[in-house]
Symmetry: D2
Subunit: 381 residues, 4 copies
Amino acid sequence: MAENGEPRIRLGMVGGGTGAFIGYVHRIAARLDDDYELVAGALSSRPDVAIESGKNLRLAEDRIYTSYEEMAAKEAARKDGIQAVSIVTPNHMHFGPAKTFLEAGIHVICDKPLTSTLEDARALATIKPKKGAKFLLTHNYTGYPLVRQARELVKSGALGKIRIVQVEYPQDWLTEAVSSKQADWRTDPKRSGAGGAIGDIGTHAYNLARFVTGLKLDALSADLTSFVKGRKLDDNVQILLRFQGGARGMLWASQVAVGHENGLKLRVYGEKGSIEWVQANPNEMWYAEFGKPRQLLTRGGSIAGNVAPAMNVRIPGGHPEGYLEAFATLYSQFAEVIRGNGKAYAGILPSLADGVEGMEFITAAVQSSKNDGKWTKLSDV
Amino acid sequence: MAENGEPRIRLGMVGGGTGAFIGYVHRIAARLDDDYELVAGALSSRPDVAIESGKNLRLAEDRIYTSYEEMAAKEAARKDGIQAVSIVTPNHMHFGPAKTFLEAGIHVICDKPLTSTLEDARALATIKPKKGAKFLLTHNYTGYPLVRQARELVKSGALGKIRIVQVEYPQDWLTEAVSSKQADWRTDPKRSGAGGAIGDIGTHAYNLARFVTGLKLDALSADLTSFVKGRKLDDNVQILLRFQGGARGMLWASQVAVGHENGLKLRVYGEKGSIEWVQANPNEMWYAEFGKPRQLLTRGGSIAGNVAPAMNVRIPGGHPEGYLEAFATLYSQFAEVIRGNGKAYAGILPSLADGVEGMEFITAAVQSSKNDGKWTKLSDV
Amino acid sequence: MAENGEPRIRLGMVGGGTGAFIGYVHRIAARLDDDYELVAGALSSRPDVAIESGKNLRLAEDRIYTSYEEMAAKEAARKDGIQAVSIVTPNHMHFGPAKTFLEAGIHVICDKPLTSTLEDARALATIKPKKGAKFLLTHNYTGYPLVRQARELVKSGALGKIRIVQVEYPQDWLTEAVSSKQADWRTDPKRSGAGGAIGDIGTHAYNLARFVTGLKLDALSADLTSFVKGRKLDDNVQILLRFQGGARGMLWASQVAVGHENGLKLRVYGEKGSIEWVQANPNEMWYAEFGKPRQLLTRGGSIAGNVAPAMNVRIPGGHPEGYLEAFATLYSQFAEVIRGNGKAYAGILPSLADGVEGMEFITAAVQSSKNDGKWTKLSDV
Amino acid sequence: MAENGEPRIRLGMVGGGTGAFIGYVHRIAARLDDDYELVAGALSSRPDVAIESGKNLRLAEDRIYTSYEEMAAKEAARKDGIQAVSIVTPNHMHFGPAKTFLEAGIHVICDKPLTSTLEDARALATIKPKKGAKFLLTHNYTGYPLVRQARELVKSGALGKIRIVQVEYPQDWLTEAVSSKQADWRTDPKRSGAGGAIGDIGTHAYNLARFVTGLKLDALSADLTSFVKGRKLDDNVQILLRFQGGARGMLWASQVAVGHENGLKLRVYGEKGSIEWVQANPNEMWYAEFGKPRQLLTRGGSIAGNVAPAMNVRIPGGHPEGYLEAFATLYSQFAEVIRGNGKAYAGILPSLADGVEGMEFITAAVQSSKNDGKWTKLSDV
């Protein structure tokens, strides 16, 4: 990927104006491997912010838009129009742009969760994209090389049949009542959807477990809590998991777990082995074979052997890669998909179907919790 | 404690013959602080083993017994008879000896869980001990200095109101079907009771959380699994917890979690702070205040201040103490209780009431799991 | 930095053809914050590789050069010629290009060590750059946010007067005799200079200690060893350090330390506090105040307070940044220097003077080792 | 060992009165495995303290002595006299008692370093013990199971020929000028000898490296510093090491390294593998084979295989053992030596010869430092 002479893909962006967190991350991800060139944007719902932000990003004046509909229409009509668009708005503003651009024949890169309601998600899944426009959901943690390697280890049978999946995602930034651009929409049911922590980070945890194990979740029993007075959405999520095939699991996500910045952690136990990976130090992963000492695998380290291209190890072991690199891997591999060279990433890059499943997970968790933890099947929501 | 000229307490032992694990541990614990002298034993239900074991422990011939009933009767009648007895038999053999010795006016030190059934536990709680005979349940993990300090931190309000309790106890020694002295009785409902992992280690995890937080458990929703073919009792336990006052928690105990030797770990999160403690490296504990860097406390380290006597720090920080020292702390502090100097340990040393509560926890978990995870109150079992 | 509308700086590159490690790193660093645009290159001393590599990087045909002299001359003559150049050749090929471009009025970004001989380094320091052309030495580890914070902590007096500096940089990739593009020139005195491990990684360790503590090294006593048969340069370096003002230290660098990928680690102890930082997990740093529990600081975490702009924290704590981001920070801050906005980075970005000092360190170490560890002053070489 | 019916060894103690640190440790070590019975003592040079301390330890009145000479004479004359004695006085008071008891035919267990001068050490080595009285030097860190396993790994060739030995022992308790029973004699040349940190902890570090690698030290180059104003002995020690056979090493010991309680750490690198062990968490050890992921060995864990009896693993992996257990292992294995069953421990238990070598190390370090770091051979002091 990158640096092979192929032209850059022309990219637009919806949302992500100056000061936004995730839009900034998407832009770095897009340019890190040199596969994209940002040429257009509808960067804010506020026209002044949209224009100022566009200038800051050196966009040509006629490609700074104040509505995504306009951008879709005009760019689709240009010869040198954007080939792909990144949607980095709050959850309730994913559906509209995603539908519009797909139907305009423009590839879509969309932040997670897919939408703010399961209905929207399912509706989006029925869209017929024009000209084979493709879709990427940025479940960015799946881009970490060792997460990919964990998935390979499971697939290879090294862990044996999976029995137990323990996944957690504790944070502490909502420990107290706070108000900020980031906090406000995430704790507002209108913009975030019916889930708080469950939608913002629980879905990451679920997706990570799903991605690494390949197991489908059969049913869950959830206890969603809101600890901070006046908060309308859950800020703490505790869930029992039953996977198809018999594996059991637990999922904990919290925004009030003092001392945790971003403590995403996955542990998978099979009949023969286990792995443990922690996002805060993503260049290491524990691997245990039953009856042998635990081994500390490193990104690109010795056990990796012939590292699969999907792992995208840019620099040798010991030179840590991080969050931005993992994010960039999704972008650069999606570029290959767009160019028609994406075979190696089939089933690996997070898809629209994954997005729908994520919304089913959120919906089932909210329902189960309302029903006092009743075991709820994903297929029943 | 110890080394203050007070005479040693004369101790007997039931169970713990040559080759037993926990009896050996109890003996080291008894002598480490020099507060006890082992002088009598009914060390095995097999007479030959009882006699051989007694000789190995240098017991006088007339104080090597082949039944605990005989030992209770004869020792109670001797002027220099035992003052206390350690019961280190499998679970179903706790009730009989405990009742007998208490009624003989001999202090009892009993391994956990208290009994193999809740009925036995409750029956034991109604016994009238002769001559004020006292009872100690060896929930040994409560003897670790940093566990005591964690409890003090919670009590002091440093963590604020507790919101979340995450506790786990993974092991891997029963990953495959095995047969050994240790494994056999622990996987046999007749000797172990209705719980497998839940009774053997889940109860430790529960007790630890209870001890540190001081919170009473209101209800639980459990999913008990038996992964190994042919195993009659659970080997994996996943439970949602609701404490009185609103705190929520999760408890995971497993005997099939590949890569874990004895991974007891407790995390407690309050409105203002949190702690994290891992038994495998018990001389360190994380402490976080909201909005400040996490601190790594050490056993006897700087933050401990005037270390409470209950913490029993024998040697300075940096010289690690371990499992045996924690166990010994229970023994030596119980010696003080026996001597009438035990005020400082009131509410700290695990009691018969704690044992009953532990059996309620096990029973509720088994019931809840049979009822497909129905929330079950401890007060309803 | 970046994303503020300022035009990108036009960049050229010397060395770094397809397959090179450090050139690739420089290119990612250059584009990560969107401050540069690579428009010209003399990417290899082999014309075919130079041309092929230029195409892969989408350079215009007339800006793919086969000699750096030609590139300097032609680019200096173009109106849209490069404003800066990255030199990423083996050590002995730093001097020529650096001199040429500086004298052509083009800013220079040069990999470390500065040159292959102290003479070259000193000669370079006497060059008169045309049009105020500036120089950046990519001692990339100084770009890590927590390294910057460590420096701030020392400067603030939080550690008190520094007493002890322990720094190490163990690797294991040259444990056996190997031959590869990377290994060959690094173990060849003609291309690498008189130092092996001392020049390749020892100089990084030294620079890191120097950067964080601000202390000047007075003298050293070195023991350089070559463990692998037939190797012409040192592969293991052990040095005692005496700093001006009385602090003492040790430096260990090794390419044969089995089990270490890239184990750069710095520890600094003062009269009141200490810090410890490990490159492999660069988002955490230990900070100890005497008599208090150790604290684990995180990149962008709570203690950082008003994070100085020099720290360049792109994403919140818990989202790990790595090697490429630290490298990119040097690039983007040098862009500010080029644009005349570089005040905040004065004394922070590694300079030509730092490069000369690095060569004095290497030279003193080699001399001391030849003299059986005689204490050697940097001012005497 | 222990619990096999053999009678306890009758033990006396010189030094170790109430309030002493190391005497208390020796007593716990003596009783932990039930191989000794403390029956006599000359516990302090102050008669009142000696008597009070003896009572606290329940010694018979006629076996509480106020001079060690008297104790040696009277105990040697008793039928039930002590068979062994523990010497736990400050360094300058090791020689007299050791000589006296050995010549009285009583086994000696002596704290380290052997003496306060090399002359005393060498003189002691020429003593002819009566009745084959034996000698144990309590270099207690060699009693840790994983330290023993490290030694086995080296001996087995798993690491290949040793190239590099990095050992360190940082503490911070003397960071400031302090006065206490423990601090006073350790910083007083008259009681401690010519070395401060070098004698108190440097010698532990050296002994540990020597024990694990089996390598003899050829020469050293030392830089000893005293950072605290008014302190008469070194409080920081930095040494380059050259072992016979070509291995190189570094040793750092410090009493002013803020943030370290007792940071003894050993790393050994060979041509094929390496190990790393840290005393503060002694139940884990890193083991790396070149080209493979690092493995985390545990005390009694899976790789231990048929654990050699020398390792003395009392309880299963995951149940941490600590400092006292390691100390106790020296005691219980020396008990076997006394009983004539000590074959398995030949060359393992620290001996008088090890004590002499330790004094040569201290002496060479002090000399080298006085000679501005001149390489000094141990054979030349």
